[in-house]
Symmetry: C2
Subunit: 434 residues, 2 copies
């Protein structure tokens, strides 16, 4: 952990690695993934069971989680968890409802007799991939499923890999149950994505697949997209936090939030950009003091070493420019007039304003969605919201006088584009001879 000036850092070896964080060579996994996809397409549930035995080392009898298993799970989780679940669900629901698109359903009329309008519809069937086994995240179930529910998706199903004992973590089952999701299937990896893509006797085919997973899951989702059978969510990589701080910031809070992000995994990126060298020193000192108290300390160390950064800048504007270039998943602003700084951030997934908007509260409980663009993709993608679970449809209606107004334009384009039946499709409507 060393402090560098941002200008110097930009000429260093590490710069490219930091900027290109989270890049994955999915194409390299395609041969394996394609084989699994083809196996499930052909042999359905049998293939699911075969691959689960092979990759997870678990023999599953019933692919679908039973009512009894869900009841057992309800008895296993703590009342404290139930309470936390209810509060966070309520907050996420409230924020998500605000994402329902406001579409003008009244026709736009480019001319009298021509009307064009839109409407939105939920995607009917969606599949949610939930990581399982050793690491499992009920919060991800909330973040993915609540917007789908609010969009009005008719069928929401979950696939998640079984633990070694053949069961699913009770917290995951209780979370799904609380949200009213009745279909949970014990299958993970590329075989789960294949099942959602093509459908099996037990698992339904869906039209969109969302949720985080390992590299094989991500590659299988891309294969699903390419097959034309399913849409997928934006690619999500390792977690990132980018903290912009001035002398008003609290080094203890910054150290905590950097470690909070870094503990996600060795590929996570925790970045501090500050006008104050002294503050950066205090943050590093604080990390050194605190890190050993965390069971996740090895991951924290490794990720800071690989993708972390403690950089000094001459001004907050220099930090803002770098943030917009880096396009972080999370940006935390701990400066005077943080709201003003926030307005200058144009490329980021979520902007945390002020000292008490801590990273983990945003991950879990403020109601904001934690599924956000990573690896610089905030330049082109949005975080998950209700929008990801709907489609818009376009409507158009012309009267004969309306069509007449655009007849020449239509015919001219048809001529230029050498499509004579396009011209005829319009002209036949005005042809009295036929």
């Amino acid at each position: 952990m060393e402090i560098v000036s941002l200008k110097k850092f930009k000429t260093s070896e590490k710069y490219k690695r930091v900027m290109n964080r989270g890049r994955q060579n999915y194409a390299a996994l395609f041969p394996v993934v394609k084989k699994i996809m083809a196996g499930v397409e052909k042999n359905g549930d049998e293939a699911i069971k075969k691959y689960t035995l092979k990759f997870d080392g678990v023999k599953i009898k019933n692919i679908r989680v039973s009512r009894e298993e869900i009841k057992r799970a309800c008895n296993k989780v703590s009342p404290r968890f139930i309470k936390a679940l209810k509060q966070t669900s309520k907050n996420i629901t409230q924020v998500s409802k605000d994402q329902i698109p406001q579409i003008n359903k009244r026709p736009i009329k480019p001319a009298a007799g021509i009307g064009v309008w839109r409407n939105w519809k939920p995607i009917e069937k969606v599949g949610l991939y939930v990581p399982g086994g050793k690491a499992f995240y009920p919060s991800s179930v909330l973040m993915n499923a609540i917007p789908a529910k609010i969009a009005g998706c008719r069928q929401i199903v979950i696939t998640t890999p079984p633990q070694k004992n053949g069961e699913i973590a009770p917290e995951l089952l209780v979370t799904a149950d609380t949200l009213g999701i009745k279909e949970v299937y014990k299958v993970g990896g590329a075989q789960a994505i294949a099942a959602l893509t093509y459908g099996t006797k037990t698992i339904p085919k869906v039209y969109k697949i969302v949720g985080p997973g390992n590299a094989y899951v991500a590659a299988a989702k891309l294969a699903a997209l390419m097959s034309g059978e399913a849409a997928i969510d934006s690619p999500a990589g390792p977690s990132e936090v980018f903290i912009i701080a001035d002398k008003t910031a609290n080094p203890k809070f910054i150290a905590a939030d950097l470690m909070c992000d870094a503990e996600h995994g060795e590929d996570s990126a925790a970045i501090l950009v500050t006008t104050e060298t002294k503050l950066a020193k205090q943050v590093i000192q604080e990390i050194k003091v605190r890190i050993n108290q965390f069971t996740t300390k090895d991951r924290i160390k490794k990720s800071i070493e690989q993708y972390g950064l403690f950089a000094t800048v001459d001004s907050i504007d220099e930090a803002i420019d770098f943030a917009n270039d880096y396009a972080p998943e999370h940006v935390q602003i701990m400066t005077a007039q943080a709201g003003r700084v926030a307005k200058k951030i144009i490329n980021a997934g979520s902007v945390f304003i002020d000292d008490y908007t801590c990273k983990s509260a945003g991950d879990y409980a403020t109601g904001a969605n934690h599924v956000l663009p990573t690896g610089g993709s905030a330049k082109m993608f949005s975080g998950l919201s209700v929008s990801n679970f709907i489609r818009t449809m376009e409507y158009q209606k012309c009267t004969k006088p309306g069509l007449k107004k655009i007849k020449t334009a239509t015919e001219t384009f048809a001529e230029v584009e050498k499509l004579p039946a396009h011209k005829y499709s319009c002209s036949v409507r005005f042809n009295n001879q036929i």
Copy 2:
């Protein structure tokens, strides 16, 4: 061209082909595409020139279209085209402006002291791929570029393959110029997508690549997405029209619109589903009479043979169910009370209501966008709109009392998910000892 009952058709050999139309094996093209992508990433403009000579047989000196070339193009196109261009641009602009997202920028407050809100930003840099050579479509430039302009994208660039004489069709250059697009580059195929993905000395890197192309272009766009360097638009395949008609419909109009769609290419799909056998017979008869007048007759014949359908149903509701299952790009409703039928369509790109909303007017001039989901992907994708050129950003802000309200929930989730630094990121803010 034969008439079948829909029920019988569903048990036929052809059914699967019709339902799975437009599927492409992009993975098979990956080895070639990856080589081209890597070549351009490494050798930039030199690779562009090399591949253009190799694949298009054209030696290009200047990759960027010059002001002089644009001026020459303006002198070559007809005043009639200019007039059509202005009218259609105006209509598309008016419809697109209605697509600017209405976002509530005032915070949602799940509890006092917690605020969550959103805002949208344009994607800064977008690249538009425009097919060229023998077939070129100025209408596609309008449909892709106008929503990008209205979204406020700062930099919009076009790549399009040169014709054999090394030039670009004047109608394309004039269309780009009319829209204020200053950067047009003479490069097509996978090499164009590679240039937009990585940037070269001449061609800028962009964050999103849109526009139709051949299978190599589509595969290269998927490779661009996988690289993490660029987002892409929804996959677009061959054109489709699905006409629902009852006894009130005009067989001449139906025949014209089916041929209008079928002339796009051999893979296009032209489908009629009607309650009236007599009408279907008249339509087929009309196609036989008219088809020979079109230079595109071979394509029309082939596509109707391969993917076309003349099906009879017992009721309009049966036709609607099939439409929702087929999920057509365009659905045309030529029935009594067509507006009511339209409301029951849930899976389609664009819905054309009534006899005078002809296919080609919707393709060119009503102001509706003609970039629509194909191959059944209307179940999960929307047509192109301003939404494709923006991203939303999330904001969150807690006060100390606000954070306190979600402290226990945050800490509980952190415990369950075994992320101790997540717990600490919250608790440190209330720790008076440190």
